[in-house]
Each structure stands twice: as structure tokens, then as C-alpha cells.
Amino acid sequence: MSSQVQGTQTFDKAKRAKIAFSEEAMQTVQKIIKRYPEGKQKSALLPVLHITQAEFGGWLSPETMDYVASVLNIKPIEVYEVASFYSMFNLKPVGKCLLEVCRTSSCWVRGSEDVVNYLEKKLGIKEGETTPDGMFTIKTVECLGSCGTAPMLQCGASFHENLTFEKIDTLVEKYRSEGKQRSYTDLDYKNTL
């Protein structure tokens, strides 16, 4: 038992050793920390977790969260409790493109259920699942502030609004052919109305 625990720790250490922000990301993190008064660097936690998620494959592993704790000089538990509270942080791996379909009232009355059904059929997966190639995950989410342009879905930083089946076909094809991981922090967001 004890050797097993020891083994896990060694494994984690080895894994952790490899975790580090890119130089560019680290610069952004340092810039963010300067926004707050001396000693209040914990305030940077949410923005830094967004960067972390974008840097390390679209989700937050325990190892990356520990790394964030060390960067911000706070306890790991302070990172875990925050990461598990907010819906935009993924604590399990997701596809490169997380398709978040809004399902609250205004989107619901304008067909969000049909959007989800269509996506499920098209991608051959259920809501909450990821395609075998790791490309897409379908997730239903609560109101994204796009009620006047419903139905809609968000993928990374981009809002895709006034959806039609045709638009869904086009965007799935586009994302598939690009094959890129989509993050909230992407600069090349494109909102399609």
C-alpha cells in the first residue's frame, strides 16, 4: 500500500516536472497578477485557470492545478475548490471543440432541443460525450446571453447564433478540417450571426 502511494507520488512528481506555461503564457500571467494589490495575487486565479486550460489540452488535471497553485503561491485546495465551482472549467478531458448549446428559455422556445438532437445524430454521440476521434464534445449549458439571436452555441471564444441545420453542418465541417483545439482565450474568435 505504502509503496503504491509512494509510486503515485513519484509518478505525479515526474508528470509535474514537465508542466510549465509557455513563455508567452507566463508573461500574460505575470501581467495579470500586477492588476491587483500586493499580496492579492489569488485574484488572478480565474483568468490564470482559463490560460491553463487553453495551454494544457482544454481541461484542468490535478497536476496542472497544483502547478497553478505554485505559480500563484496559494494552496492546491484553493485552486481545486474554485476549479470545481465554475462551469467553464473542465475537470475531465473534452474534445478539441467543445460545442456548448444554450438550452434556457429563449433558446428553448427557438429550437435548442432540435439543435442538440441534430448534433447528436450528426456526430453519433450523446450530449456529454466526445467523438472517438477526440474532436467534438456536446454539452448543454445555461443562458449565454444570446437570447435575441437564439438558438445558439458557443465553441471556444466564438458565438454561433441564429443557428440553422445548414449553419451547423458548415461549422462542424470547418472545425473538423482545421482540427484545432478551441479555447475561450482564442484571439481569432469569429461570431457568426
Binding site: 492588476r35 489569488k42 483568468p47 482559463h50 434556457t104 437570447c147 437564439a150 474568435y189
Partner: protein
């Protein structure tokens, strides 16, 4: 044509750039306040304007500002609540996306009035791309000398930062927002102390909605008294309304408070009527939290007077026959709408968004979701309606923050006004999916 104070330039090409914004009179309020007014003058103008918080609660802004404690040597903060998450509300997103500088300008003028050296704009994480637009605007404002040290030689220095959230409705509650800004879970704080005494980092803090802060610019430019002439009674000025649902022209509209609801729904200038010529069934006038009203009560009060878009008129009759202006999230439902299913989407939302701190909200929202799920899946029992009523009653007023009330009110209102529809679906489950939204299918097929 109503008067526009916030969106009059929203469609000007390039208005998101400082140069164009200035050509259209931008940053005049900063110039006026910092060069010709004292901090107190600005606060007085805002008091005179009668401006009320545009986030939903409608608390007088000038009064909120005057509560701010000013102990010597302690930092004060202005925090902009851009966490817009109330279902049906998307006005702040529109304003920030189209005219980001109007928010930055309001932040500077307001911070001057409050004596805040630093301000933060806390924006919901899903609006990440909007945070980029704001950051660009802030960068331009620094370069033009509207932010930073000794602004316009006035001796007032100010820094403004954008902070992104990460998906939590509760962070729109001001103390939860402050917790989140400190890098914690968004659990609302027990009040008192109010943020005006102990807010961000324990320092005196004012938290204002995006639209409230943007409205400071026209108030300073035209004077509080002039501003107060617009609108009706204690509902002064203009208000941004997010219109969505079964209407021909969804979108964000700036209205003069006091506009008749009927005109707002049916006039071509605004919503353009109900889609497909359908009948109006119900409206949620102020975001998902406020009571839903059936057509006859949204168009006219129970006294038979025309219902107006104002704080007072929309709440006329209390919750028995009225509702609230709230955040201005105006959701319209036509005759095809299944009110019970719609309520289910609301309750599912509140259950998902409850922070879990208070048992009545954490457990109550969960039970309401389960009961409604049972009904919309065709397994409802006749006793479910009274059970729902009982659960919502036990949540309201028994929680630290208003999320509990916000979850209870839509349930109570749906039962109050549409009880027979609950009974119909419970007694005849086959009717639940009978009506298909005409619109959604057609739209999705590109028709």
C-alpha cells in the same frame, strides 16, 4: 421615435475606436467632471438624475454612492458588474461590444466621483471575446491620457482592469462577484457589512451594472435635472431592453421609461409583433427571475390601465397581478408555448446555478426541478402542483442572497396564472408534446 442616450451611436462604423468615439462627443463627461466639477458635484448630479440601478434591483444609484465609506488612507474600489447572466438579458453584452468606450468613460467619471484609484470590470467568462474589445478600448484610453496618472492634469489618477469570470450566474450577485474577483468560489456574503463598508479586499466598494455606469456619461453631460425629465415618475431616463422569444424583431432596444408595453411588443420600431401572426400568450418582462404574466395582465394592469415599461407600472398589483422591470430581459411567448416546460428550463437553470450555501435553495431548487421533470415527462401527479407551491414558498426569503427568491418567483407565478395548464399536462400527459413550436422547426431548416 424614442430618445437614445446610450445607443445613439451604436451603429456608427468604427465607434469602438477611441478616435471615432471622440468625434461623436465621447469622453466629454470625463473632461467636464475632472476639469469643472468636484467629486461631490458628480454625486449630486447622479442623485438629481434619479438613476436607478439597471442590473435588476433598481436601487437609486446616487444613494448607493453616498453610502460609500471614506476612511482615511483606505483604498476605495468601483467594480462594474458585467456578469450579465439573467436568462433573457443580453443588453450589456451589446453595449460593451458596440460602444466599449461608453463603459470606460463611465468608469472613469464614476471612479472620480467615488475617489477610487482602481476599478475592475468583472465580465462573465462566456463573454471572453467582449473582454478583448474592452481591453483594447482601455489600452486606447491609456494612450489618450484618459487613464493612468494625473488624468487631463486634474491630479486624479485611475487604473481600470477587466476581469473574466468562469461561468457562474451567482457571480452577478454583488458579494459573490467580489468573492470571485478575489479568486474564490462565488458564495454570496452575509450582509451587513455591505460592500460600501467592506467590499473588495475588505475595502469600501461600489458595485454597479454596466448600463448604470454607461448612463453616468449622459447624466454628467446634460445634467441630472435634464436627465430626470426623461421617463415617467420615479422611473427616469432610458432603459435598455433585451427582447427575445416569439417576436419578429428580437434585439436590444433603448426605450424611454414609460413606453406602453403594447407599443413595445407590436410596434415596428421595437419587437414588430408576434411571429407568424400568432397570439401573445405570456411575457417575462424583466429576466427569468421575475413573475411571468399572461397576455391580458402584461398589456393592462388589473385596474384596466395600459401597462407601461417602468419600474412602477410593471410592478403594479404586486405579484398577484404584476411583475417587475428587473434587468429588462423581455421574453415573449406565443400561443404555442408550453408554459410548464418553459418553467422547467428556468428551474433547471436555478438548480444548476445555486451556489449550494443555503439548504433551502440548494435542496429546494433540486426538488422543484425533479417535480417539474416528472410532469414534463408525463408522470406528474395531481398533488405535484401543491407540492411545487409548498417548496417555492419555503425557499423564498430563507436564503442569504436573492437567488432563492429568484428561483421561487417564476414557479409561483406560473402556478398562479397557468394552473390549469399544469393540471392539463398531469391529467393528459399525451398533450405535453402536442404543440410543436412552429417557428423553431422552420427557422432551423432555413425557411
Amino acid at each position: 421615435m424614442g430618445r437614445k442616450l446610450l445607443l445613439q451611436q451604436a451603429t456608427v462604423p468604427g465607434i469602438e475606436k477611441l478616435e471615432v468615439y471622440r468625434q461623436h462627443g465621447g469622453y466629454a463627461s470625463v473632461e467636464k467632471a475632472l476639469k469643472t466639477m468636484t467629486q461631490n458635484d458628480v454625486v449630486e448630479e447622479v442623485k438629481k438624475s434619479g438613476l436607478r440601478g439597471r442590473g435588476g434591483a433598481g436601487f437609486p444609484t446616487g444613494m448607493k454612492w453616498s453610502f460609500l465609506a471614506k476612511p482615511e488612507g483606505v483604498a476605495r474600489y468601483l467594480v462594474c458588474n458585467a456578469d450579465e447572466s439573467e436568462p433573457g438579458t443580453f443588453k450589456d453584452r451589446y453595449l460593451m461590444e458596440k460602444t466599449p468606450h461608453s463603459l470606460i468613460e463611465g468608469m472613469i467619471t464614476s471612479s472620480f466621483a467615488l475617489g477610487a484609484r482602481t476599478s475592475y470590470i468583472y465580465i462573465r467568462g462566456e463573454y471572453f471575446y467582449v473582454s478583448r474589445i474592452l481591453e483594447k478600448a482601455i489600452e486606447e484610453a491609456y494612450a489618450a491620457g484618459y487613464l493612468g496618472e494625473n488624468i487631463l492634469g486634474s491630479g486624479f489618477s485611475h487604473d481600470c482592469y477587466v476581469q473574466v469570470g468562469a461561468g457562474a450566474y451567482i457571480c452577478g450577485e454583488e458579494t459573490a462577484l467580489l468573492e470571485s474577483l478575489e479568486g474564490k468560489r462565488g458564495n454570496p456574503r452575509i450582509k451587513p457589512p455591505f460592500p460600501a463598508i467592506a467590499g473588495l479586499y475588505g475595502c469600501p466598494t461600489v458595485v454597479n451594472n454596466v448600463e448604470t455606469i454607461a448612463a453616468i456619461c449622459p447624466i454628467i453631460n446634460m445634467g441630472g435635472e435634464e436627465y430626470a425629465k426623461i421617463g415617467i415618475g420615479r422611473s427616469t431616463g432610458t432603459k435598455l431592453i433585451s427582447a427575445s422569444g416569439h417576436i419578429n424583431k428580437p434585439g436590444v432596444y433603448e426605450i424611454e421609461l414609460g413606453l406602453p408595453v403594447e407599443e413595445f411588443i407590436y410596434s415596428e420600431e421595437y419587437c414588430g409583433g408576434i411571429i407568424n401572426g400568432n397570439q401573445l400568450k405570456a411575457v417575462v418582462p424583466g429576466g427569468s427571475s421575475v413573475p411571468i404574466l399572461p397576455a391580458h395582465l402584461i398589456l393592462k394592469t388589473d385596474k384596466g390601465e395600459p401597462r407601461l415599461m417602468s419600474y412602477e407600472s410593471l410592478s403594479e398589483g404586486g405579484f398577484a397581478t404584476g411583475s417587475m422591470l428587473g434587468s429588462g430581459g423581455f421574453i415573449v411567448y406565443d400561443e404555442t408555448t408550453n408554459i410548464v416546460k418553459n418553467l422547467y428550463t428556468f428551474v433547471r437553470f436555478y438548480h444548476h446555478e445555486s451556489c449550494g450555501q443555503c439548504s433551502p435553495c440548494r435542496e429546494g431548487t433540486g426538488w422543484m426541478e425533479k417535480i417539474l421533470h416528472r410532469i414534463v415527462e408525463g408522470h406528474g401527479k395531481p398533488s405535484d402542483i401543491d407540492l411545487l407551491w409548498d417548496v417555492q414558498r419555503k425557499i423564498e426569503g430563507n436564503t442569504i442572497c436573492p437567488l432563492g427568491d429568484a428561483a421561487a418567483w417564476p414557479v409561483a407565478a406560473a402556478i398562479r396564472h397557468f394552473r390549469s395548464e399544469f393540471e392539463e399536462y398531469i391529467n393528459h400527459p399525451e398533450r405535453i408534446n402536442e404543440v410543436k413550436h412552429y417557428y423553431s422547426v422552420n427557422q432551423l431548416q432555413g425557411a
